[in-house]
Symmetry: C2
Subunit: 254 residues, 2 copies
């Protein structure tokens, strides 16, 4: 089974160069192509992706402008090495933090993971379209890079049989568990994003002063069937980790 061709096939209705961009981006973001690594020669890479060299070149030009690769005249094309403080993740991709860290070659650790049953507050219940007081599984996770806490996740999931126990004993990321769930696998979110002053509980979890700006997301988790399966609140210290996003021009019609 050729992994790259699988990636292409999934989106076969998109133009080839877009598929190539997606495949290469994923190879970079998952670490198959590591920061600083030289890309294979164009003819080899084109053959691997089963596209023409001119299509590959078009994809590479876009990846260069996105800062993911850089070309050195007469030397070759290389995966960019992220610079600056902290590291990055693509916002549109709902990916476990520890995987982003691994790809960026950062030392990741779990500071805390706490799983408990709680009753839904009125607000949480409203977001979930559930009754106030319904039992939810709450998972609080604090993750660190080089021993310094970067993010605090406060997730609430609709309770299914044994979920709390399963999440407690699950070693990998909670997101990965929810992706793989046999009942209603998590496929996408709707996320609102804010800059807020760290409230007291968040500040103490992240070991930052109360009131320091944090990047906050309020996410509603959905299954492919459009069911709401949970709500996630997350707090990132942005000088330790931040997101990037590609925004596309919309020519206004009004």
């Amino acid at each position: 089974m050729k992994n790259n061709n699988d990636l292409l096939r999934l989106r076969e209705r998109q133009p080839l160069y877009i598929q190539a961009i997606d495949a290469l981006t994923q190879m970079i973001e998952t670490g198959q192509l590591k920061p600083g690594a030289q890309l294979p020669p164009e003819n080899e890479l084109a053959a691997k992706l089963d596209i023409s060299r001119s299509t590959l070149r078009e994809a590479l030009r876009h990846l260069e402008t996105l800062g993911l690769i850089s070309r050195r005249q007469g030397v070759g094309t290389f995966v960019s090495i992220p610079t600056g403080p902290g590291f990055f993740g693509g916002l549109e991709r709902l990916e476990p933090f520890r995987y982003l860290a691994r790809v960026a070659n950062k030392k990741h650790s779990l500071v805390q993971k706490k799983v408990e049953m709680v009753k839904a507050s009125r607000k949480l219940a409203a977001v979930m379209g559930a009754m106030p007081g319904i039992e939810l599984v709450r998972v609080q996770t604090i993750e660190a890079i080089d021993g310094i806490p970067c993010v605090y996740f406060d997730d609430y999931f609709i309770n299914t049989r044994g979920l709390a126990e399963k999440l407690t004993s699950y070693d990998d990321s909670v997101l990965v568990y929810m992706f793989k769930s046999s009942e209603t696998p998590l496929t996408h979110t709707r996320s609102e994003i804010y800059a807020i002053e760290a409230p007291e509980d968040v500040a103490s979890q992240l070991d930052i002063p109360v009131g320091k700006p944090v990047f906050h997301m309020e996410e509603t988790y959905f299954s492919s069937m459009g069911e709401i399966i949970g709500v996630g609140l997350s707090y990132f210290v942005t000088d330790r980790f931040r997101f990037y996003v590609t925004r596309r021009a919309v020519r206004p019609t009004i």
Copy 2:
């Protein structure tokens, strides 16, 4: 010319229900379908979009989970009315702030627009792949909702003949001018997003206390050919306006 079909044709290689989601989202976000408005009957809407009713239903189910529409049993389907303080914009869409405001039925005003020529700092030049000291067109814009400043844009564009004069006399959004530019129209960005403490100049522009958290974006503006045409720094007061985004699960391959 049927506008909706035009939208569909642009992305004709995507699955139909995705095209339908995009077309309906755009109709909602551009105000063709206003908050609170009832959607046309399914057969009518399906005909308008030139898709089957089952494809339309699939699209509607997704839009419902994204919170853009809501169905009332036995009554019909309605465009959701945004709730909460402030209002929202989709982050992946690079759209003029004043259009987002118009769609949300908010009173928008331009507090300030200042166009000048500046020399590129070392940092700006590096981002743009240009020489330090090269002349750039700087545009500072402050925009308000109901008279309260919400966002400060600090944009730098590669200088082309007469650009500063053209931007000074252009009445609509600077973004719209750049979208329409005959030379290298702006098509997409790479944007890094942060929560930061408002520095002194930003705080005074936005009329907020120094140090208040603001949502900050550092954007590199690209043309469809992958050329860098500018850099945008923007600062949003998130209790007055905030972004949302859809994040899609990525099953890790490492």
